[in-house]
């Protein structure tokens, strides 16, 4: 049995009368790529923000990297990486300056930052962009960079919120290669998406609909269980009947 790095029990998040997360229960194991699927507004981002200490749950127990999300949000932040839906690096800083800034905030020494940046740029074949302002780079590169910044300080877990939104298929494929590389280094990857083909790349997926978890398991097991040929068919099959109840 692998170590549990995220444990969620009866997580509820309400905004007034609206229930964004309705009694969520799941576990995420060390080193796996965990996909969080759902339509827009299903409550994926809300759950992800609670897990990363940006928001606190209305009720329920949430443990991330050994800390309680309700009371130890700042300790969680020290152990995770995060990449949000909206591109949120500084467009008016260069690639190198952005990485240096975040390395510095996470307390890395300036020598280590320099060395790691050089490695990273080489590995991403990014050397020519090192001293360019991020604002001028194509979206695919920006997203790759945002991911690199999120894992630059070698966190235990990285949270990715729809990381490939608006990115072309080739860049998306490359992006997933980066995710695999990170997982291979032992970083647990928690990723939300509504691209169903991406779900196939995950070790396990969890499908959300209207604030509730409707299915959870490995892509293969889920497809077998529901007799679907792809995750997309499965998703449409599960989510649609629920949507029609509205």
């Amino acid at each position: 049995m692998r170590e549990v790095v995220i444990r969620v029990e009866n997580l509820v998040k309400r905004f007034g009368n609206f229930v964004a997360n309705d009694h969520l229960n799941f576990e995420v194991y060390e080193g796996e790529i965990f996909g969080f699927l759902g339509a827009n507004g299903a409550g994926k981002t809300t759950a992800l923000r609670i897990l990363s200490g940006l928001s606190s749950p209305t009720s329920g127990n949430v443990m991330v990297a050994g800390f309680d999300a309700k009371r130890q949000g700042e300790k969680i932040k020290r152990n995770i990486g995060y990449m949000c839906q909206r591109f949120s690096l500084y467009n008016d800083l260069t690639v190198r300056e952005n990485i240096t800034l975040y390395g510095g905030i996470y307390g890395m020494s300036s020598g280590l930052i320099k060395q790691r940046i050089d490695e990273l740029l080489r590995q991403l074949e990014f050397e020519e962009y090192a001293d360019r302002l991020i604002g001028g780079l194509p979206l695919g590169l920006k997203q790759k960079l945002a991911f690199s910044v999120a894992i630059f300080h070698e966190p235990k877990i990285v949270f990715l919120d729809e990381p490939t939104g608006g990115v072309d298929p080739i860049a998306r494929r490359q992006f997933w290669e980066e995710i695999y590389a990170a997982a291979a280094r032992g970083i647990t990857v928690f990723v939300t998406t509504h691209y169903m083909d991406e779900a196939e790349y995950c070790d396990r997926v969890c499908i959300m609909d209207q604030g509730r978890i409707v299915a959870i398991g490995t892509p293969t097991a889920l497809k077998q269980k529901y007799g679907a040929s792809s995750i997309e068919d499965l998703f449409v099959g599960i989510a649609r009947p629920n949507a029609q109840k509205e």
Binding site: R86, S88, Y90, N91, D92, E97, L101, G104, I105
Partner: protein
Amino acid sequence: MRTVLYLIRKEFKQIFRDVFLGKAIIAIPIVQLLIFVPAVTLEIKRVNLCIIDRDMTSYSRGLLEGIQASGVFRIKQLTLAEDEAYSLLNSNKSDMVIHIPLGFGKDIGRGNPVKIMVSVNAINAMSAQLSWVYLNGIISGMNMDIALENIGSLLPTNLKQVDVTHRIWYNEMLNYKHFMLPGILTILITVIGMILGGINLVKEKEIGTIEQINVTPIKKHQFIIAKMLPFLAISLMDLAFGLVLGRIFFKMPFVGSIGLLFLSATLFLIAILGLTLLISIYSHSQQQFLFVAFFFLIIFILMGGIFTPTDSMPLWAKRINLFNPMVYQMRITRMVMLKGSGLIDIGKDLLALLTIGITLSVLAVRGYRKAV
């Protein structure tokens, strides 16, 4: 501390990389000082007069010469028609009408009491009052001359009277610019710090970059310090710049200690930036921030004592002013620059600034939520 340095470096890079901002930080103080210091004045000069001289004797001409020689008044119109005179007053073309009646000179000669009629446009109460005082001075001078003329032959020795000798301290030349420059400079550094610092934080909220910062383990006080120091430095730089400009263009004296002024400016700016950050952490958009910031700026400036002495304000206004950092800084700047006041003279004011600054900064740190 290292974390803060990384963030501060980032702020400076962003500010000076912005072509417009980088220039504006230098250009704004130049333009404002060069325009406002000479323009904003309470001195009464060139009060436009309309004279109805029905008398036309050497006495009435003597009075008019006295008025003209004062330099305060300018005779714009000489007329015999009252209608014309009052329509000039009505249309704001003249500020004062002096009506010298027929027989003015004759009555003086005979030793009879004489009357002249003065009508003042008092829409601006302050300048009306001042011109009235000036005119009174001229007329009592004339009265004295007449009295001396009449009795001088009888009394060979000088008339006994109280003679006032006055000495003007601290601003010997009564140079209005030297009074205004410290005030304008104080307003200038306030506005620059407040607008730059506040917009900076709210903009990070608007474009979403703050989310990435909020998910890092950065401490709240580190974040607030890093958002405060760059703008504190820029405002102090502008203060230094303004002092140099004042010296060059207006021969602004600086009697006291420059170090003391910068110490006080630092405390003052911590208060201003503390408030700025407090507003901006609760604002969701630049508009929201600007409205609230503007509300405070107007209060600070108009009640801060740049034009009107804060000591003569009503009691309730004085109570409000206890919390107005600009009152302290305006006073300190003038005292240090013009009087050379030392630490002991301004110690109480410095303490007040320090208290306001710490309170607001602590509130800002407490209020800042590392959430979305």
